[in-house]
Symmetry: C2
Subunit: 477 residues, 2 copies
């Protein structure tokens, strides 16, 4: 163990009750960003963080983001920016978290009051925001406090960026980060985000990749208005017939994408990458439990994880404009819009994907010899992100995990996107690490959200140890 | 001309203003069956018909149908039953119509007040219910009055069955007709229903067939709850992928039904039937006008009419359970339900159709090798109806058309269903004729519903002439 870590760890243990109390205070503030009536609580939460950080000697600013677009009677919550330490001889680490939470009502089915931290005999600390993302945000503050109280020198300059609109689309944050790239964030040497979860419940992980997403609309229109199927059935081309045929040419029931050339854009699987999957702590039972069914496509965990992390997937989400209610309606819809998206991975470039998608759909539609009109467009895209897990930012985090939990972390990716990750990478030009504190069963957006005491307290040690290792790690690694 | 018709026709011309005034009074009663607050008006309309018929010497009864299912605070409107004449030496003709109307509000886009009959310079009489179905219902009453005033003996015993819930599913009527088959309706020799429309605007038609409808649900379910496509895309079988593939195997974009064996159930086209289509007054321009587009499947009017009237069609109506709103949502729906229906024709029996549909869908789903679960069921069915257009009921009507309009009527079918037609046929065991008064541009359920003066006044002559010819026509024809 690095010599400074022992007194730090000991101090965390000694302060554990007060750290839990800090979390209790934070959970008690219902900082729900999606509900207008709670906006004042989101501001209260920003003030709570500001006070806690200032009390520990950090320089703190609340940066306004202006009015909320579309809801101009509301001010956006501020970004809480803090700097702790300003030593040119130390590395500067930028950490991100968010202090707003999802909505929660006892009557949704919570076993306890959602805004009262409630700890059961197994050490599960229930409360909205406990794991997403107040626990991790307070984790960084606790690390500062434990260093001060233990008299251990803080190993890095810490920059904190805590936002209050993450659960409502991070309104205004992307522009803010870009605009501060040469200002508040300019000294950043590496970025650490603690806002995701372990793959399971026992083993920590470091996350180095996220898939992107290209979302498409394909519309087919024919008659000028909806028709009665009794009167017109059989005499006119029906947009629904065309759209189901076109949609059926996109992906097969085994998940294979049928768009010619698309898989050629995917980075080939190297032997080295392939070897990463077998060691990962995950089972097919874990998948079946999440699905609530045994409708998995692949027989092995390795192939399943690759399908989620490193291969693209295509999902058909639904059809707008058709009859979608319960019951029976004998309508021929005049215009229908199919929605589907492709999860993208290295090295798929959005424009290349779009071209293949558009060409394929137009060519399949041409085969139908329908007089209807087809149109296809990209609704939105977000790029995939993959960091180098061999960067010193990751090796430092890996050592910290080994130190605190006694195991090598799983090196994971995620199938979904966390757009702010790429924003930080692009704005700072530095390596970004996702370092989760909570576990897969925490229920971030569900009822009975919780953070295990172990994950919180050992997580504080992990964040602190990470800062020590990141301070020492050679740059060339 | 049959000698009695001349004074009758003359009398109709003399009474034309009073007949239009009768329609004006009827349109002024907003007998909207779908709106609770208008139920009293539906009852008022029943009373209006009762008084008019009684004043002419008919025996009239208002038969209650009990409470409205699902809305027990409302009484169903009565069936107005009337008998005019009771001479065992005359034929007994049962006529059906309805006195309720669709909802209408000026602000929906009406050019005039919907419940004030407004006549323009071209003789178009605008008003809700003018053509659907108050004009035809009053037509029968006007026929009685003109005979009385002209001193012409009424040629048949007339039974009237006028209902007040047609625009709201004819609640309770089917049971009522069946229960009266051996009572009020027992002497019926033939049935005439005036509640549909000419195929175009110039030429009258007689309608001898309607398609049936089998409506199906096919559901595919997999995971226990909706999934996030980022997290799970590529690792689990997706119900939407399966359903679009299965739906794409039902019908091709040219309207060809792909269910093996289904077309074998269809009665072959005889040379005699084939010869009926070319003479029908209809053009591809008429179709394109109705569609509001040129997305017709067949190049000729003959093939188009066959597709609508004598061949089955399959329409896909929509998908329940998938994302159907505007915008973008990255959901993998857990359970989706495709809805489609088949318009049926002679000699397709519902059970045979169901078996072919179920077998085909199950076999197509089996080919997918999906671990999801498929279920398919019939939501409802209604049988097709075809009467013999050579029956004396039709030849009489044909002669009446020739007499009044100077042309042979088009012999038509319709693609949609009017379930009460089959109910009358089955309950009475007699031939049923659909004898429309209005034209294709009347806009029955739309804004600016109208009935042309010509269609109303010549229509009254048509109904009267029909009764004279039907009285004379030899039974063996």
């Amino acid at each position: 163990m690095a010599p400074q870590l022992e007194p730090f760890f000991k101090q965390v243990d000694q302060l554990s009750d007060s750290f839990i109390d800090r979390l209790r205070k934070a959970v008690a503030i219902p900082s729900i960003s999606a509900q207008d009536e709670n906006r004042k609580d989101v501001f209260r939460m920003a003030q709570f963080l500001t006070s806690e950080l200032e009390a520990l000697g950090a320089e703190v600013e609340q940066r306004p983001l202006g009015k909320q677009p579309g809801k101009e009677h509301l001010d956006l919550p501020p970004v809480v920016l803090a700097r702790y330490g300003n030593d040119k001889n130390k590395r500067t680490i930028l950490v991100y978290g968010h202090y707003d939470v999802q909505p929660a009502l006892k009557e949704d089915g919570w076993a306890s009051e959602p805004f009262e931290l409630t700890i059961d005999s197994e050490g599960r600390m229930f409360g909205r925001g406990s794991t997403d993302d107040k626990g991790p945000v307070l984790g960084w503050i606790n690390v500062i406090e434990a260093h001060k109280k233990a008299g251990v020198e803080f190993p890095v300059n810490l920059l904190c960026c805590f936002e209050g609109m993450e659960e409502y689309g991070s309104e205004g944050l992307e522009e803010f980060i870009k605009s501060e790239s040469k200002a508040f964030f300019k000294d950043t040497d590496a970025v650490c985000i603690s806002d995701n979860y372990w793959l399971g419940t026992e083993k920590p992980c470091l996350t180095y990749g996220l898939r992107g997403c290209n979302y498409y609309s394909v519309s087919v229109s024919g008659p000028a208005q909806d028709l009665h199927s009794g009167v017109f059935g059989g005499s006119a081309h029906e947009p629904m017939t065309d759209i189901v045929t076109v949609l059926s040419k996109l992906v097969d029931p085994q998940g294979n994408i049928l768009i010619p050339g698309l898989m050629d854009l995917v980075e080939p699987l190297s032997e080295e990458e392939k070897s990463l999957y077998s060691g990962i702590s995950y089972t097919m039972d874990n998948l079946h439990e999440s699905l609530g069914s045994k409708t998995s496509i692949h027989p092995s965990k390795e192939r399943t994880l690759m399908a989620r992390w490193r291969y693209p997937s295509l999902s058909i989400h639904g059809i707008e404009g058709a009859f979608s209610a319960p019951g029976a309606k004998t309508v021929i819809p005049a215009k229908v819009i199919g929605k589907f998206s492709i999860r993208t991975v290295p090295n798929m470039q959005s424009e290349d994907v779009n071209k293949l998608v558009f060409d394929h759909i137009k060519s399949e539609f041409a085969k139908l010899n329908s007089k209807n009109t087809l149109d296809v467009c990209l609704q939105h895209d977000g790029k995939w992100w993959v960091a180098s897990p061999r960067h010193w930012n990751f090796t430092a985090a890996s050592k910290a995990v080994k130190q605190v939990f006694g195991v090598e972390p799983d090196m994971t990716r995620e199938g979904g996107s966390i757009p702010i990750t790429l924003t930080f990478e692009e704005a700072t030009g530095k390596n970004v690490l996702l370092l989760p504190m909570g576990s897969s069963t925490d229920g971030a957006h569900s009822i009975n959200e919780k953070l295990d005491k172990r994950n919180y307290l050992e997580g504080i040690k992990l964040l602190g140890a990470y800062l020590h290792y990141v301070a020492e790690e050679p740059a060339e690694a």
